[in-house]
Every structure is written in C-alpha cells, then in structure tokens.
Symmetry: C2
Subunit: 422 residues, 2 copies
C-alpha cells in the first residue's frame, strides 16, 4: 500500500483489480454482521442482571412505587438522576424507559402548546427551523422532521457544534432550537468545550423560546481513564439569564438495559411546570418501581464501577476497529480519516467525497450491515456523501475484525474507483 493520491492510473487499476479480488473473497465467506446501531452486547446487559433481583418498592419518603401517582418520578430517583444530570431533584423529572420519548414530548409541547415563554405554539408559527449539528444522531433529527420542522445543518467540530454558525443562525426567529450530544457525541465522539457551553448559554437568539435539546446520553460512558466532560448547560444558562433554554436528558439505556432502563430530564422551574402540565393528560405516572429498582441497584454496584466494566468490554472492540483502520487505511494517503473517541458508542469514518454510499452498499452486499450512508445528516442526506458511522458495541471482537477488514477493502476500492473516474 502507498498513497493512492500519488498513484498513476495504471497502478490504480492494478490496485483496483487486487481489491476487487479481495472483496470477492470476503463476499464468499457469507458473513452476516450488523454494525449499524449502538446496541449494547449481551455481555454488557449481563452486567446488570442483579437489577432483576431488586424487589424493593418503598421509596425513602414512604411512597409505594407500585401504585399510581408521582408524575415527576419517585423521590430517590429524582435525587439520583438529578445528580447524574447536574440538577437538584425539584428540577429533575424521571420517566419511563426512553429518554428519546421525553425529547419527543418536549418538542411536541413546543409544537402543540408552546412554552410559557413562547409567543405562540410552534404549530402556529409557520416555518419552524431546528439546528442539527452534523454528523449527529439520526433519531434526534427524525423527531423534528416528524413535526415538519426544517432541519438546518450545522457543522460539528471537535469542540461541539460550530458556534459561529449557530450564533448566526439563531438570529432567525424561525430557528427554535438545537440538538446536541454534549459528551462523546454520536457519532464523532467529540465533547463540547467550556467555551462552546458558554457561547450556547449566552448567545442572543431571535426566538425567545429557543431550546437546546442537550442529550447527555454518554456522560458517564468513558472508554479510558481520561474522562471527558463539559460544564453544566442549565447552570450556565441560568447564570446567563436564559434558564429555559436548556433541556437536558440522560438515560440508563447504555448503563443497565437498553430496552428496560430509565430516562430522566433536567430543566428549569419554568420548563418543569410546562412539562408537567403537558404530561398530565397523557399518563398518571411512569414506572416508579423500575426507577427505584435502578437507584438501589446502581447504588449497590456503584455507577463508576459498572461503567468500568462496560469499558472493559467495549474498549477492545473500539481498539480492534481502530487498529484495522490504521493498518488498512493508514498508509493510503488522504483517502480516509476517522475519529478516536475516548468514550461513547461510535467511530466516525470520513472518506473521499462521494464514496460513503458506495462503501455501505459494498459492505451490505458482502454481508455486513452499516448504518445507512447519510443517516447522521438531516433528512438522511450527507451533502458530501463521505461519512460512515461505525457502531462497534454489538458484534464480538472477532466479528468486528472481519467486518472492519471488509470495510477497509470496500473503502479502498471505492476510493480507487473514484480516482480512476476523475
């Protein structure tokens, strides 16, 4: 291997033929692997099996969690997840098994009712725009797309969303908010800097009811001992006189059980009042028994200890992918770069423009399912068709090595094809 960009066409053609043969050989293996979603592996889920042994049902304040009541969550859970979010219990609402669900509801609240600081409900505002730092989490963008909002692409940087772009776009009063995964972002693994948080909190927005949807999904999901983190957005917004701007989310989906965990929201008093009023007709209470079970279990095993065990399972997988990428693409010149996250669930692979969808198709044909090309961009369209999201958590290390090798062959093949065609 050597720098593809320095090769003449004949050398490229020979390389292509070699890669084609290597690809065919892989396709013969009949692989059936899925690297498309950030699903925890069964071994990770096994770490929390003792959760199912917790039979407690009486909250510290005497509440019988088995019964109706307590829309905001049981008090122990509000305290515990408040600490995780960085909010006091009274600014913390603990919900069901899905923080995504709560994000959807916060958007619906803005849409159908409007917040207390909304001039009117968003549904009555004509065009509504939402800022989507990209690449980002497809399910975030999908929520705002579902409500008919216009998704506005903002570049993601290693410091978080490109704040020059955000500050400029926020001057448009149709822009009602921003999605953000502040720590170990999906899919780049970037963490917002203190400067980004401060600018987000202080910036002027034309919309008085601008909302930052702060999904701290990976806040404790470190892969190394160098823990990344960022300042508390709600505290920063309160200090800047914009307390309602921040709506923060976390969940145990990648701490305990992806499908049977607990989600929580941290928000200002004003937003809390709006949210409770909005939720009241919808449900009588969330599953507080599961909330209490989680608190007692996490206190028993220790959150940090548990996350270290997750890291012990995940790190070798991330390493396997990184090593393969380095070995197979590292000396091909500037046809590819990738992120080296210190936490979270994903690696971003950036290829030459126009190559991503070809690579995803090649991999699929050979039995390896990747997240669809473009999925991490608004409307599922990567303007450069260059980004691929790698989710190493679910397959075994052995499977991952195979899948990553195939991915590299496909990436090189697509690059050579592109260079030959140019």
């Amino acid at each position: 291997m050597s720098d593809y960009l320095a090769m003449d066409k004949a050398t490229l053609a020979a390389e292509r033929d070699q890669l084609q043969a290597a690809y065919e050989a892989f396709a013969q293996k009949g692989l059936k692997l899925d690297m498309s979603r950030g699903k925890p592996a069964p071994q990770q889920l096994d770490l929390s099996m003792d959760l199912l042994k917790i039979e407690d049902y009486k909250d510290a304040d005497g509440m019988d969690t088995r019964n109706y009541g307590g829309l905001e969550g049981c008090s122990e859970a509000r305290a515990y997840f408040g600490e995780m979010l960085g909010t006091p219990p009274e600014k913390t609402l603990v919900a069901g098994n899905s923080s995504l669900n709560m994000m959807y509801h916060v958007i619906d609240l803005g849409y159908r009712k409007g917040f207390s600081d909304s001039p009117k409900p968003w549904k009555d505002c004509g065009t509504i725009k939402f800022l989507c730092p990209s690449p980002g989490y497809d399910r975030h963008f999908r929520i705002t797309e579902d409500f008919g909002f216009e998704l506005v692409l903002v570049d993601m940087t290693p410091e978080g969303p490109d704040m020059d772009q955000v500050e400029k776009l926020a001057q448009d009063e149709a822009v009602k908010g921003l999605w953000c995964v502040p720590v170990y972002s999906n899919p780049d693994g970037y963490t917002c800097s203190a400067a980004t948080v401060e600018r987000l909190a202080k910036m002027k927005t034309a919309a008085p009811d601008f909302r930052i949807m702060w999904d701290n999904a990976y806040g404790v999901h470190h892969l190394t001992d160098a823990h990344e983190g960022c300042p508390n957005l709600l505290a920063a917004c309160e200090a800047a006189g914009n307390p309602n701007r921040a709506v923060m989310f976390c969940s145990t989906s990648k701490i305990t059980f992806a499908g049977g965990g607990v989600g929580a929201v941290g928000l200002s008093d004003g937003n809390m009042a709006d949210l409770k009023k909005y939720l009241f007709p919808m449900t009588i209470s969330y599953d507080k028994t599961n909330q209490l079970r989680h608190v007692r279990f996490l206190q028993k095993v220790g959150l940090e200890q548990l996350m270290k065990k997750h890291a012990g399972l995940l790190k070798p997988k991330f390493d396997a992918v990184a090593e393969t990428l380095q070995a197979e693409l590292g000396s091909c010149g500037e046809i590819a770069r990738w992120t080296k996250p210190k936490g979270g669930y994903f690696i971003s692979l950036y290829l030459m423009e126009g190559c991503a969808s070809r690579v995803v198709a090649l991999c699929k044909q050979a039995g390896v399912v990747l997240t669809g090309a473009g999925a991490a961009y608004p409307y599922g369209k990567d303007p450069k068709d260059s980004h691929i999201r790698i989710a190493p958590s679910f397959p075994t290390s052995e499977e991952l090595k195979q899948a990553a090798e195939l991915l590299c062959i496909a990436a090189r093949l697509a690059s050579v094809e592109k260079l030959l065609a140019s």
Copy 2:
C-alpha cells in the same frame, strides 16, 4: 327516617337540625380519608409481589428483551395480551405501564397525522367533536379536551352509551369518535350489551375515520361469580366492514401494579400500520423486560385466580358501602339511587339535582375526599349536579364504613336543605 319527599317543612327542619348535629359530630372526629381515585389498596399490590422475583429476559422467540427493538412488544406479551383483548398477536401492540398513554397517542395520531382513512389530519378539520358517554372516566374526556376537541355529552345507560343519541350524533362529520368503557364502566359499573356492540359496529358515521376508544380497563375485574362481558368490538366492526373503527385497550394497572404494569392495544391491520409509523420517531421500544415478567408471572399464578383474590379484597369494601347506603338512604324516599356493580372499581351515587357539589364540599370539610362533583362529565360539569363517584378500593373496610356514613349524612343534609329551599 322516612320519605323526605313526603315530609312537611317543620319535620324537614327538625331533620336538618338533627343531621347538622350528626355532621358536626363526624367533623370532630378529624377523619382523613380519600375515596377519590380508583387506586388499588396495598394489600392488592401485595398479591403480585412475586412479579418482582421473575428474572426472565429471553422471550420464547429468542429475543433478548433487555435490548433495543420490538416496538410492538415482545412476542409472548403480544400473544398473552392479545388473548386478553380478543385480538391475534399481529393485531396487538404491547406498550409501557400506561394504557391511558396509548389512548393519548391514538388521539394525537388522528390529530397531527390523521389515519390512513382520514380525509385530513384532525388538526386541519376545524371543529372536532368527541362523544363522551356520561358519567364516564374523567381522564378520557380530559385527553380529548387537551386537544381542543368539543366534548359532546351522551347519556350512559345500563346497556352502554345511549345508542339512539350516538347514532344521531355520528351523522355530524365533525364527530370523530366515542369514548367507552365496555365492561363494568367507570363509574356506573355498567356493561355494554350485545345489541349496543352491534349498533356501534354497524352504525353509519359521517366521518370515515370515526374511532371508538374502547377502554376495557375492567374486563377481568369481576366482584362476583356472575361474570359480565360483551362481544369483541373489533370482530364486530370487521364483520360490519368497519375494521378501523375499533381501537381496544387493556392494562394490568389493576391486575398487578397500578404504576408498574403493562398496557396493550388491539386494533385492525390498518390502524396497526398507522400507529407503528406514528410511534416510530417517539421511542425505540417499550419496556419488554417488564412485559415478559408480566406474562410469566400471570401464567404462573393464573389470571383468574389472581382476580379472585382481588375480588376477595374488594368485595367486602363494595359491600360495606352498599350496606351503608341502603341503611342510611334506603328509606328516605327518592332522594338517592346508586349502582350495584358486579365488577370494576366504582359505585355511582345519584342525588337530587343540585346536591352533588354540596355533598362533596360537606364531606371534604369533614375530612373525606371524594372525586370532585361533576368530574365524570365533559369539562367536569354535571348538568344536573347530581352524580357522585365512589371509589371504595383504597381505604380499609373500617375507614370506608365511616366515610360512607358521613357521605350519607351529607347526602341527607343536602337533600333536606334543598327541599326546605324549594
């Protein structure tokens, strides 16, 4: 005691003074009781403590319920709750801990997206009306009120909603649906007759996307061995060529844990497709671990056996109320009548016009909280101010006897006051 309606004013005045004294004596006791909501008693919740011992997580089809996926619910749960609803698994969606939540979502689906058979989303239809058989469940009416629909009062009868009224009102294309608790209705305890079900299924509706919100909350909640039931609405609607009209709900809120149970929906293929598409952006999956835990627990203890134990705890409470009502109001003439349900969670007490809110206020002042007068009617307004909902499940029998005695004194006092004022 004798017939109040036959008393002259002087006798009534003497009776009033006596009742006033009895009331004062009660108020001195400093009672603190709540008969306002249909909350299971702790002893009922205790019946399902073995639920918390179930550590199963692998569904019969091999699905790991702890992980993401399976928006429709895990397969065993779809089969189990399908049987409860009377729908095959593929027409059954099993959700989180709240069937009310699913009702809200079905209404929001109609509102924001419209169903496949909707000419347009309900939000774009101008005035939308919803039929509310009354007295009914306040939280049903509240959902449609929250969406800004006009609530139309329909009389409730011992056979179900007054079908002459329903059929006539359904000729208005602004009328998009009907709420109904088909078995042991809240609060009367009435069960829809086969004739009612057939008329509901067959009637002509001006709106092609008319929906019957069929909340079978008490389908297995018998208090006696004379089990009431009614025909399967979805089957009737399918036979009548109106498969999408029926949306059926059930939950384990009053079978296992009120706050930590499982809710399910039974609906046509068309509605299922619409609902799944609508739910997709909102959540990745419901808590399938809790779903599986429920199936395995309920299969182990036997649903019928468990419900018999509930009845064993509930029946004496219903009897205590009924006996007190009979003893204290039975010989006062036509100032009161009440329902004698064979299942469910409530008793309806009907007083002379204009007396209900006075009675609720009197009871509250003496330490007994009843459901607010009018709560069972659209907008919380009982046109006759005559209905009181009694929820005997939560207090102990001893407390109930006291509360019912106070209620009777208040009812007699309010009646005498009214007669004196007329």
